[in-house]
């Protein structure tokens, strides 16, 4: 689990992820030959041989892992979902067909996965990195409770979190400003 948390926020191209996967799988074969007490570690390591987004396609293995999330889509529909600890919000949304775009594939290079976090939960999220704040400043329809979905990883503390997708509005500027002639 820690392995995933450490690696996913890094900028990983598919090429890098595949290389990583190969390396990790080779290492897990090594561990295979060691004592039975290493079994738990081996299980975690094999689980780490996943491409970005594959982890979210696995169902929760036990009730303790479940974190309930509600997405509110652009039409205002509430979509309740059973996520699990460690799920990345962007990929969880993709698994369930929620229209949350991730143009740069979670590499902190765009603002298309912009969501509004319900105010009761904003302080249960980790503080945004400077890079995320920089990108949020560019997101259309920016609000105080705005975050990038690809930077939110579920913890048990976020049970019941509600995430609203921004409306597409006409004539928006990146900072909500209406241009005046100058």
């Amino acid at each position: 689990m820690n392995f995933l948390k450490r690696f996913r926020p890094l900028i990983l191209s598919n090429y890098l992820i595949s290389t990583l996967r190969l390396t990790l799988c080779q290492r897990s074969v090594f561990v295979n030959n060691s004592r039975p007490s290493q079994l738990r570690v081996r299980h975690l390591r094999i689980q780490s041989c996943l491409l970005a987004g594959e982890y979210e396609y696995q169902d929760p293995k036990s009730p303790e892992e479940i974190v309930n999330v509600v997405f509110i889509d652009k039409a205002g529909r509430r979509i309740p979902i059973k996520g699990k600890i460690g799920d990345n919000i962007l990929y969880l949304a993709h698994r369930h067909g929620i229209e949350l775009e991730g143009a740069c594939e979670a590499s902190l290079a765009c603002s298309t996965c912009h969501v509004y976090v319900h105010q009761d939960y904003t302080d249960r999220l980790t503080e945004p990195q400077e890079k995320e704040e920089d990108l949020l400043d560019m997101a259309p329809g920016l609000k105080q409770n705005s975050r990038l979905g690809c930077q939110i990883t579920l913890t048990k503390d976020m049970e019941g979190i509600e995430l609203t997708l921004p409306q597409i509005t006409r004539n928006f500027y990146v900072d909500g400003h209406t241009p005046q002639p100058h």
Partner: protein
Amino acid sequence: MMSRFSSVPFPLRRSLATTVVRNPQIAIIGSGPAGFYTAQQIFKGHETAEVDVYERLPVPFGLVRFGIAPDHPDVKNCISTFNQIAKNRRFRFFGNVNIGTDVNVEELRKAYSAVVFAYGAADDKLLGIPGEDLKGVYSARSFVAWYNGLPGLETLNPNLDTDSVVVLGQGNVAIDVARILLTPVDILRTTDITEHSLASLCKSRVKRVHVVGRRGPLQVSFTPAELREMVKLPDCRPVFSKTNFEEIRQMSQEIPRTRKRLTELMVKTALDEPAPEDSARWTNARKEFHLNFLRSPSKFLPNSDSSGVKAVQFHINRLEGDRAISTGQTEELQCGLVLRSIGYRSRPLDEQMPFDSATGVVPNKLGRVTGCADLYCSGWVKRGPIGVLATTMNDAFETGKYVVEDLLSKPSIQDQKCGRDAVIDILRQKGVAVVSFEDWEKIDATEKKHGKEKGKPREKIFIIPEMLSIAKN
């Protein structure tokens, strides 16, 4: 088909002919983000509509390939989404086809249920001041196209044999060109920057870049991430004059959230002692990044043998609210290269298509072209050449949604149209070498292969005949 029908009595023949409802065929002009995201929405919202994307160049992706700076590869990750869209069996790419000369908009309208303009803004805004045609004065867009390999721009040969460059305009494009001019060449060596521009930049004497705006720090158009990169650039010192910022620090409470962090970064860099991690770098830096405010260019001054630009003359402004008012005073900045980064303009593809030359966009409401039931527009040609990828994406989704809505309300529209075969015939008669998406993938593979040999993600090909010969092999 006709020979089978000819023995059937006429009324019955007609009713047999109309039992098949043809899938709507949509033509999208332009294969940048606006084109692809519109296609994506059409596929999502309509089960049978087919999309043909026309592109002037043999290679797709528009500004994602030619506009995003080489040292920002992650922003190009959207290409994998575009590749997925292209794999849809209802998608077809027609590269190397110029709408306007090879086939015109009317011919497309006769063939397709709907035509979507998504071709962006290919022209520059001009200042219209004396000396604009001097050697050494270019649009920032040409400079970007030069290092990004847009076919035709490889002969630009911008003058880098000068220590000072003036960039006019304070948007993200201005910052991009400043950054490429000031970044240590060893960093650029591992990007997909073109070989010829890398060679020129290796010989560059440029030490100082001024990014000049007509108004003040609160009116800049560049965004925080880009500014932060400049402040952290190796071997480079930011030079922001204190006079622009002292008053702004006083009024920090009134600044809206979206500008707050950007403004704070500028103020801090201008007024405060550098942070420990920046201090040594700024002291030892050999290059400088300047932000100059309240300066409107009035004239480009030639050097003594008229071989190029030597300086830019400016009017000094003051601000009244958001507006720049000239104070009557002037100032000169010496430089051997000027990059004009004041915005782009679209142009109509031919004289018949609807286009508002005053605003430089296709007249429309929510992407539906005014007065033409089968015409739509998406992206910069729809709302003007401003905005980041997310803006264009949202905009394309809006157009796509309305294209689908209109198609669903007239399901047999394609029956009144002659279909894409008519256009294919026209192209064949003219001898146009149409490039398919599979053909592009051969060019793509060649670029990546040559890039790998040099430790770059790709080595861009910028000669069109070379692209075509790879495509057709």
